[in-house]
């Protein structure tokens, strides 16, 4: 039963090789989607290109549905899959800072890496800035620790705090996503910028 490569020391190198192979798939998917283009990504915030929304929610839904199916077939123990812990302040403040970085730089870290992979110099600058950002965080951690650890709520699931089953929750996510996809298709027609979204 999965996850297959956790908890066994001998699997360490196999696990790292797996990480490398998964990275290949990850970088490939991002680049094929057009996420190596900062103007395509920024289009999300100006309405002319909603690829970000479509790819992001499609991927999230495939993974959440797939994980529930594997779990129902007793192939994947979800208790052994990492659930990120919720720290209210850190998520909200960190997320807000990330959004500002997104609109300034036109990339997020993953998409920046996929853009660097095909030779985008602006992505190299973005990632160099990213290294500086990580360095500033590390050097000023003493000042930030309080905010970083505040409002701890643990690895809670949204479905549980809403008091519903995972299945029902996922169904709601799918319905909401379908509605957003419909709006996104409309917005792309309204704010069309073919010279950006089709130019390579």
């Amino acid at each position: 039963m999965g996850p297959l490569l956790t908890g066994i020391e001998i699997s360490n190198w196999i696990n790292l090789l797996t990480a490398f192979l998964i990275g290949i798939g990850f970088g490939f998917a991002l680049e094929q989607a057009g996420f190596s283009s900062s103007r395509k990504l920024a289009g999300m915030f100006y309405g002319y290109d909603a690829t970000v929304l479509k790819v992001f929610f499609t991927a999230a839904i495939v993974a959440m549905v797939g994980a529930r199916i594997l779990n129902a077939l007793d192939l994947l123990d979800m208790n052994l899959v990492f659930h990120n812990h919720y720290y209210i302040h850190a998520s909200l403040i960190g997320g807000t800072i990330m959004g500002a970085g997104f609109i300034m730089g036109g990339f997020c870290p993953g998409t920046g890496i996929s853009a660097l992979a095909i030779g985008k110099i602006d992505a190299l600058f973005f990632l160099s800035g990213g290294a500086v950002g990580a360095f500033i965080f590390a050097e000023t951690y003493g000042l930030l620790e309080k905010i970083h650890l505040a409002g701890y709520r643990g690895p809670v699931k949204l479905s549980s705090i809403m008091g519903m089953s995972d299945g029902l929750f996922i169904l709601i996510v799918v319905v909401v996503a379908a509605g957003m996809f419909w709006i996104a298709e409309k917005a792309e027609k309204k704010f069309e910028r073919p010279e950006i979204t089709e130019e390579l």
Binding site: L16, G23, I24, K54, D122, G129, A134, F137
Partner: protein, 170 residues
């Protein structure tokens, strides 16, 4: 190689979803990107000024047992991402050194904002314990509050600041 258009977004989303599912099934974890950058920085600091790294409580935890911070899942994953992105660019005819920007934006302006954006983004990702992939997407896949809140904060903030930076893009 002849240029090809980008893949249909829903189809590439399905591929990305399966990659994420594989990470969960094989390694019991999600995807990530900013974490890989962090480990590279921690490792660089450790080789430039080892004493500083060992004295700082922040860095020291990554050097316990003299283990290299480079021998890490996320580091291997982001090197894979570079290869995967390159393969994709090669088969679609997009491999080319260039600076992408709208015509009315100067090269210097594009590069300065790209750099600043990177500083903000990865700093924020350290605070939030993950970026769009590690906290938002991977978190949503396991239905965590942290995943959904981080996603809403990133995109909500993007829309909030979009007006101020509109001249960079449209």
């Amino acid at each position: 190689m002849k240029k090809r258009p980008y893949m249909n977004p829903y189809f590439s989303g399905v591929i990305l979803g399966f990659v994420l599912l594989m990470a969960m099934f094989l390694s019991g974890r999600g995807l990530g990107a900013s974490g890989g950058i962090k480990y590279l920085v921690v490792s660089a600091v450790g080789s430039i000024d080892h004493d500083h790294a060992l004295q700082s409580p922040y860095y020291a935890k990554y050097f316990i047992g003299e283990k290299s911070p480079l021998k890490n899942w996320l580091v291997f994953e982001i090197f894979g991402m570079l290869i995967g992105g390159m393969i994709s660019g090669a088969i679609s005819g997009r491999l080319k050194f260039r600076i992408e920007k709208p015509g009315h934006v100067s090269v210097a302006r594009r590069l300065i904002f790209a750099f600043l954006g990177g500083v903000f983004f990865v700093f924020g990702a350290q605070l939030a314990r993950g970026c769009t992939s590690g906290a938002a997407l991977s978190g949503m896949a396991v239905l965590t509050v942290a995943g959904f809140v981080t996603m809403l904060a990133i995109f909500g903030s993007g829309y909030m600041f979009a007006w101020f930076f509109r001249k960079n893009w449209i």
